[in-house]
């Protein structure tokens, strides 16, 4: 990476080069995130990142901010504690389809239900990359993985819809092909004072591509683009014709009381107390 990249100042330069494969969408998404963060006029110094386990969960390790790289599937639990302990932090969670929809599925719906002010970027590559190409809960029916050698027979989750149904106040899905829409969605998510979920469908040429006759990043990108259907158009399509399609757009954009605000409101209204921050460093409280 050259020092000329405008986002280099946000990176931990002593950690580069990164571990992502050539053609991976993670770099595009990091770049989209940083662009969105600037557009949202966020203070990068105030951002704390949390992630679980998987390729996408390695992203915070390259960002020069406080970052908590946690256990598989549990990023949202850790993030819930972090945000509750210090609600002044802007907490961003990077997760993947296996991390947040499989092992962490329960935490995902509960974090959405609580409408806790977290911005979750779910990098959905439809496969387990870190462990070498096993199918995930979002793998399309019929797709191949090392654990689905005869084609995946399971129905995939529609994550953005699932999270909207669970109570998130912002939920959207885009792909790595619609960069500007993705940037706007992340910006809206960062600004939304509640649970924000941005699903990014992305390419994994190394594993998904190789197993599914889409070996080059270009082949994967073309496929993503061909399969994309905008939400408005999708609403006029028959269910049968939507099979295998990626419906993009916003699935929730609303306002509800936020979780940590509710906690502080009760303390304030009933006992005249604000939620303490950094109290561990005090000898007497």
């Amino acid at each position: 990476m050259s020092d000329g990249n405008k986002f280099t100042p946000y990176m931990r330069k002593d950690r580069l080069p990164h571990i992502f494969c050539p053609g991976c969408g993670n770099g595009t998404i990091m770049s989209a995130f940083l662009k969105a963060m600037e557009k949202a006029e966020m203070d990068f110094e105030n951002i704390a990142m949390v992630s679980g386990i998987g390729c996408s969960s390695r992203i915070p390790g390259y960002m020069d901010c406080d970052s908590l790289h946690t256990t598989h599937g549990r990023a949202l639990s850790f993030a819930t504690g972090l945000k509750t302990a210090n609600k002044d932090l802007d907490v961003v969670v990077f997760t993947g389809d296996g991390d947040c929809a499989s092992i962490g599925g329960n935490h995902l719906i509960h974090a959405a239900r609580r409408n806790i002010n977290l911005t979750v970027i779910c990098i959905n590559n439809n496969i387990y990359g870190m462990t070498g190409g096993q199918i995930s809960p979002t793998s399309p029916k019929g797709s191949y993985g090392t654990t689905a050698p005869y084609g995946n027979q399971d129905n995939p989750f529609n994550l953005a819809e699932l999270v909207a149904a669970a109570g998130a106040t912002y939920s959207a899905r885009w792909t790595t092909i619609q960069i500007e829409s993705l940037v706007m969605a992340i910006k809206d998510g960062l600004k939304n004072p509640g649970f924000s979920f941005i699903e990014v469908v992305t390419q994994c040429p190394t594993y998904y591509g190789r197993k599914n006759k889409l070996r080059t990043p270009t082949a994967m990108a073309v496929t993503l683009k061909m399969n994309t259907v905008f939400k408005d158009a999708a609403s006029r399509m028959r269910q049968k014709d939507l099979e295998g399609k990626i419906v993009v757009g916003e699935f929730a954009n609303t306002q509800k009381a936020e979780f940590t605000e509710n906690i502080e409101r009760i303390s304030e209204e009933k006992f005249g107390k604000k939620t303490l921050i950094n109290s561990a460093y005090e000898e007497e409280l």
């Binding site: 390790g61 790289h69 949202l76 509750t84 107390k273 109290s279």
Partner: protein
């Protein structure tokens, strides 16, 4: 001015947590620990703290680790099944050196077992429950007062050594009511913020092992990971030396301080033929049994383990070396019993009163075992 209360053990634990500076609790309802959560749900909002009922115990453990990095002393409370679920994240807390307090009010087990009955079947789960090498600290209260005191102590030790600390209570101590006295003057160990951001290494291989801990949002921009990491906190998973240095330091910072961490209480040990070793609620029966034995002219003493982990090897060796018989009393079929055997290295004379079924052993049950042993 001190305060006197007649309260349940679980309530005393919650009050101890607040006194120690705990301002974040995340938990999931489970008998017989639930009153800890219920009390904190009521009390934390009064002192600017936060209570969260999580979706399960895995999430509870994750949340308190997140809360701790957020700069708040954090705790959860559970029982055996919940502790099993928490174990992966507890291991994460060890490798990331996150101070947390985990309270386990033990019940009959394995599995769902006896939710409303007492046991001490989780002692080895506290010691070895997560994967890999680490050195846990565990405290076992025998009274409502100790449940308060040991919860405060657990927070202090967690901060002092940047480790998870277990409070291994049991249903008897959790549910009974007794008088406790809360002094005004209680030592509280606050967290140490690093002095400078310049060249700060959050996981430095320093002499005493324990680094100061910044919280998130203070500009230290640290990376915290469960992967084997170097002194900067950066993953370095394929370098044997990095792993060796990290895990060795994590263990040493506890093992090199056992003089300060380990605690026992003992009585009548000097001339004792038989020494009873116990912890938690059964200690109360042990004390009564020892007193009765002495009244009958039998030389019986006892050692109470305040800290089952790290096992107080030195203290037990010093006190029990000359006794003909050792009797370990616990509410399981032998857990600390094997640890006592390991330390004293004389299997033949270490005996077990291992009571399961949900009731604590009675003084008479202990006495009848002692009377069968025969003295010198």
């Amino acid at each position: 001015m001190s305060e006197e209360l007649f309260i349940q053990g679980n309530e005393a634990c919650a009050k101890g947590a607040i006194r120690a500076g705990c301002r974040f609790f995340a938990g999931y309802p489970i008998t017989p620990s639930t009153e800890v959560a219920e009390t904190l749900a009521r009390e934390l909002p009064k002192v600017g703290g936060s209570f969260v009922q999580m979706e399960d115990e895995i999430a509870s453990a994750g949340a308190i680790i997140g809360g701790s990095w957020g700069g708040t002393k954090s705790m959860t409370a559970t029982s055996g099944p919940g502790l099993s679920l928490m174990q992966e994240n507890i291991g994460y807390a060890f490798i990331t050196e996150t101070p947390i307090v985990v309270v386990d009010v033990q019940r009959g087990s394995p599995s769902t077992g006896q939710p409303t009955m007492a046991a001490q079947g989780d002692m080895m789960q506290a010691r070895w429950g997560s994967h890999g090498d680490y050195e846990p600290i565990a405290l076992s209260p025998s009274s409502v007062q100790e449940f308060f005191d040991f919860t405060v102590k657990a927070f202090n030790l967690a901060e002092e050594y940047r480790v998870p600390v277990f409070v291994m209570a049991d249903e008897v101590v959790g549910h009974m009511r007794e008088k406790i006295v809360i002094d005004d003057d209680i030592e509280i160990v606050p967290r140490k913020m690093p002095e400078s951001k310049e060249d700060f290494l959050p996981f430095k291989n320093i002499e005493n092992g324990t680094n100061p801990m910044p919280s998130f949002g203070q500009g230290f921009n640290i990376h915290v990971t469960g992967l084997t990491h170097d002194e900067r906190g950066y993953p370095d998973t394929n370098n044997p030396d990095t792993h060796d240095a990290l895990v060795q330091r994590l263990c040493d910072k506890v093992l090199n301080n056992t003089d300060k961490i380990c605690s026992v209480k003992s009585k009548y040990c000097d001339d004792a033929d038989t020494i009873i070793i116990s912890y938690g609620a059964p200690v109360r029966s042990v004390i009564e049994a020892a007193r009765k034995a002495r009244a009958e002219g039998n030389k019986v003493g006892y050692i109470k383990l305040d800290t089952p982990w790290p096992f107080p090897e030195k203290q037990v060796l010093d006190l029990a070396a000359d006794a003909s018989n050792i009797v370990v009393v616990e509410m399981n079929l032998g857990q600390m019993y094997y640890e006592v055997n390991r330390v004293l290295r004389r299997d033949a004379n270490v005996h077990l009163v291992g009571k399961i079924g949900g009731l604590m052993p009675t003084p008479d049950e202990i006495l009848s075992k002692i009377n069968k042993l025969g003295g010198k």
